[in-house]
Symmetry: C2
């Protein structure tokens, strides 16, 4: 045995386990503070720390003092551009949420101010989202009809916004942004696509100038309703709608082809609204079947805190609408903030961003706004228009304030069909065929997750679609964990490397030995599988040799634990049991390169004592060399 | 660039991805058939295959033809021993389930026959389990009182057994034994311990010969009830109980110390029952406050299929009782079958075993039996008594049949206090202090999972305890996945190995480079974390160097993907984004040794095209050498 140890070139570290508090603190930190937000406070004087702390929690104090007029030029332009988008989108999405259109305008006034103070992202533009608007209408509309009792319905929407705000703020403070990560890109792609289809179908009502429609949101009901009320179709409305849509799609196409023409595509929605409004006013559109938005009062947001309604009859639906939309809004807002920050090499603190969204919606629910976040379309426009800081949000809010005070009544002439065209066009951009095709090519399971969200949303209900898709994602996460990959290693010719024999057909297995690489954590959910799998590798290997002429038995099983990130007690027990089983069959077990955490647990559970320190190696090469030596000792005539 | 490639000693395999069907088939196989049960059917002639197939599905055809009389000696002894245990345990556990004691005896007659035919394990002894008995009483007893309507209650217990059987058979046929793996050892230890405490407390009723008691099962209610009816305490009963308990514990102690005396501990329960019965009969125990079991009819199991009750009023509780107990029973039965098979180097096919349990309970529910499985205590006795095959179960069943036909009425004199002592003693063995201490030492989170099951069961309800504990286990599984370990690698002196710098303080980091090892799958649940973590590593590294004299910037980030078992589309997008971010800062990214699955997806998603094949290396050593070369090219004066 001693010769074996001396043969080992590289020493394995058996240092005694770190203290519980050390590991516990580091685990907590990795779980809740992976981005280490307080690293900037180290090594600072107290008053510096305080200033940095305030700047950390209220980012406006960080960027405003360094704000330069040269930046303001860019922010002004970007702010006006997104304001021009906020007016048609605000009115349209409010219609999707079945609340008065003015609420949509209010929602682009107060929340951007709040975000500019607390938000971390430089390019994010605040606004309402179509998907959340529809979800709110679906969930709360099931309980209270927006037509029969519009006041109560509106108050419940404010309450749902309040719930969203509380949920988001709590998630951020508790640093549970991790939960948002469980909405995968595939789920979001499918969900957005499904919602877009739904909303497009709903717009057929506006296109055809219909007065009656279904309350249901699934594709089949909506499609049926379009034809059920065929006698209400107005060709004038349809023609206007198609012209608007062609214009919008054409400018979008131009914008995407020639970046210089980007501004045309950015302002085309407001152009459609203005041209449509003037046109409807001049020809007295209402007499020709062209519906208009109707009354829009002058004046900025009235307070709405007194309307929050926590009646136990409505609270379950309100909580459902609030929490689900808060997650969808976060998934969109955080992802978008992050990806634009990445383009500019900035970093966004997810949990702080979540708090900013939460505060924005809390304040919003007190001031007649409904759910806002950082929608993709608006943020992209803001970025492309050259926004440098959150000042563009302030500019937008000021523009919206001016619009509310002076111009609001003018927009009452906007034809519904123009809004439908704006929504339709925006939604078409959300159906990402290419992304779905990419998913299909790269990962079929991801594609299924995406499709399940798409069809679930389009044909069942939005929450069912979301739940099925998230459920599938989690199932997959658990399957990864329950069925980790193992592979057999062989020696790469002319090197000291050992690699997967399936991946690298040229590598040579070592006679009498089986080198297995285990991946993933080993623990209760997969320890049985891992044991069975290792035993199967051994059976397969032995049956292979039993067919051949040579009579070489497996005498060593070497387990490469490099990829084993952690292990639990059930996992350790399985290894102990496995070793006992194999020793009973005359097969020796050695382990290779357990990492720090795994080694600590193996030492604490006396596994290392049982297996012997001489059977723990630092590299596959060391282990193979030692085992070869012992094979040669047993059979001195066989030169292995 | 070409010189870099030529410098690479070892070629990375970029073979085009395997076909979808190939990977899909292999994934399905790993998920549902990890133990490859059909491997034995390869390369066989059709009639051999048929015979092997029948032997596979009905194992008795495999072992019975080779059965020898020499084995029967052992099986006979073992069978009689476990029968002697089955009588007191059967009666006692039936009392726990609040059903007539005779049902407990029936349950050791039919099910062992069924198991002997379909079961795979050689040492497993069939019997009822205390934990499931109490759970059934708790769940169904909440709906129908076993005292007020004993017939309906009993019929619902049969129905729950039927549901258990169906559930188990379905799990086995669908090869979903994987679900049982999600009950970790820690959960089971805690759950069993908590149940044992509960049951011990309940036995105080029998010990003190009380007539009134609480319906609740939580520790506080039971403890309160014991003192609430203090006036019913009978000292005669308590004295007898303590004597019995001391005897049982003493023989158990003897048996554990001296293996030769094992038989004394195995038969001590039946001795207690017989001695107690004779004693109670002689002194007319009932006049002295010593309650007896009462009526036990002669005759074997009557059919009960006509009693199965699927009334919609009761079905939710019945389904709950049936499914939860089926899982508990499986967790115990499968784990025990496996561990005893391991001791003898046999293998047990989990899913086949589950089908056997399912059939056993289905047939049991038709023949007046309630839930049975392979309880630990009985199986250990069977193994220690020398059982060689499932024949010992047949011997036990025959003994039970004889008892039912001839001796049953004799056991009607058994004092309740003797049964309480038998239960109490069995339960004390289930509280594994040492295991809990082991958990505490090795893994604090496992300890918490165990404690939550223990306290949940003891102080809330059994199902809540189980749910909390399983929930914590799953949370942990997801946390592992959401927060995978990453570490920085450095070069081990005088070798080509690269290891964790934290674990091996002697290893040297390479100036200008950051080598990171990623573990676990990279996918939606952790991709944000991994990006943030890598960026933090780079920040930390750069701030370290900025403090020192030298001005060495990180120019290369090398990601060792050896431990990355798989990747999804979100994960790949994160890598692409990360690379763009880092290239923007002038940092080059290379990846090292992606495994087969990961490489296939990286190729399919064009990641490899984007990063360039020259930036994919087979080993850390290769990558570091190449990057050193490019560093030297940039700064010819710096000898790195």
């Amino acid at each position: 045995m001693t010769s074996e140890i001396s043969h080992q070139q590289h020493k394995v570290s058996f240092s005694s386990p770190r203290g519980f508090l050390t590991t516990f603190k580091s685990d907590l930190k990795e779980t809740f503070l992976p981005d280490d937000p307080f690293s900037q406070f180290h090594d600072e004087k107290p008053h510096h720390r305080l200033r940095k702390g305030i700047q950390y929690f209220i980012p406006i104090f960080k960027w405003l003092p360094n704000y330069k007029f040269s930046m303001f030029r860019f922010d002004l332009l970007a702010g006006i551009t997104i304001a021009s988008l906020a007016i048609p989108q605000g009115i349209s999405y409010a219609k999707l949420a079945k609340i008065p259109p003015i609420i949509g305008l209010y929602s682009s006034f107060v929340p951007p101010f709040v975000y500019a103070v607390f938000g971390d992202s430089k390019h994010l533009a605040v606004g309402t989202v179509a998907a959340c608007s529809v979800f709110i209408a679906e969930t709360i509309g099931n309980l209270v009809s927006p037509h029969d009792d519009p006041a109560l319905y509106l108050h419940l929407v404010f309450t749902a916004t309040f719930v969203s705000g509380i949920t988001q703020a709590a998630l951020g403070f508790l640093r549970l942004g991790i939960l948002v990560d469980f909405l995968s890109h595939s789920t979001i792609t499918g969900f957005m696509g499904g919602t877009a289809i739904l909303i497009c179908l709903q717009q057929l009502k506006g296109f055809f100038g219909m007065k009656h429609f279904t309350k249901n949101t699934d594709a089949v009901s909506v499609f049926r309703a379009v034809f059920a009320y065929k006698h209400e179709w107005r060709w004038e409305s349809a023609v206007a709608g198609i012209i608007f849509l062609i214009f919008l799609q054409f400018t979008r196409y131009l914008g995407s082809r020639k970046p210089k023409l980007f501004f045309i595509s950015a302002v085309s929605p407001i152009l459609v609204v203005i041209v449509g409004g003037v046109f409807a006013y001049l020809i007295h559109g209402q007499d020709h079947g062209i519906e208009i938005v109707g009354e829009l009062k002058k004046g900025i947001n009235p307070p709405s805190i007194q309307y929050l309604n926590f009646d136990s009859k409505y609270i379950p639906a309100v909580i459902k609408a609030g929490t689900v939309t808060s997650f969808i809004a976060l998934a969109e807002g955080i992802a978008i903030g992050r990806s634009f920050a990445n383009l500019k090499n900035d970093q966004v603190d997810g949990n702080k961003e979540i708090i900013a969204f939460g505060l924005m919606n809390l304040v919003g629910s007190f001031t007649s706004c409904y759910l806002t976040t950082g929608p993709f379309s608006k943020t992209a426009v803001n970025y492309n228009a050259g926004a440098k800081t959150a000042m563009s949000n302030i500019v937008m809010a000021v523009c919206m304030g001016l619009t509310l005070v002076f111009l609001a009544p003018l927009f009452s002439h906007t034809p519904i069909v123009a809004l439908s065209a704006v929504i339709f066009s925006a939604m078409l951009g959300l159906i990402k065929y290419d992304h779905a095709i990419h998913l299909f090519k790269v990962d079929k399971f991801d594609f299924c997750i995406c499709l399940s969200a798409f069809f679930g949303v389009a044909f069942i209900t939005m929450d069912m679609g979301l739940m099925i898709s998230v459920g599938l994602s989690l199932l997959r996460a658990l399957l990864y964990v329950a069925r980790p990959a193992t592979c057999k290693l062989g020696k790469v010719p002319n090197s000291t490397l050992y690699r997967d024999t399936e991946q690298y057909p040229g590598v040579a297995a070592i006679p009498g030995m089986l080198v297995l690489q285990l991946g993933s954590p080993i623990y209760f959910a997969n320890s049985n599988y891992i044991r069975e799998r290792i035993l199967r590798w051994i059976r397969d290997e032995q049956s292979k040799f039993s067919n051949s002429e040579e009579d070489i038995k497996i005498e060593h099983v070497l387990l490469d634990l490099t990829g084993v990130s952690t292990i639990d007690v059930t996992g350790i027990e399985t290894l102990i049991e496995l070793r006992r089983t194999l020793e009973g069959r005359g097969i020796k077990v050695a382990i290779i390169n357990p990492n720090l955490k795994v080694m600590e647990k193996l030492i604490a559970s006396h596994f290392i004592d049982k297996i012997g320190k001489e059977n723990v190696y630092l590299s596959v090469g060391d282990a193979v060399d030692c085992c070869k030596l012992s094979l040669q000792k047993l059979k001195p005539n066989d030169a292995v």
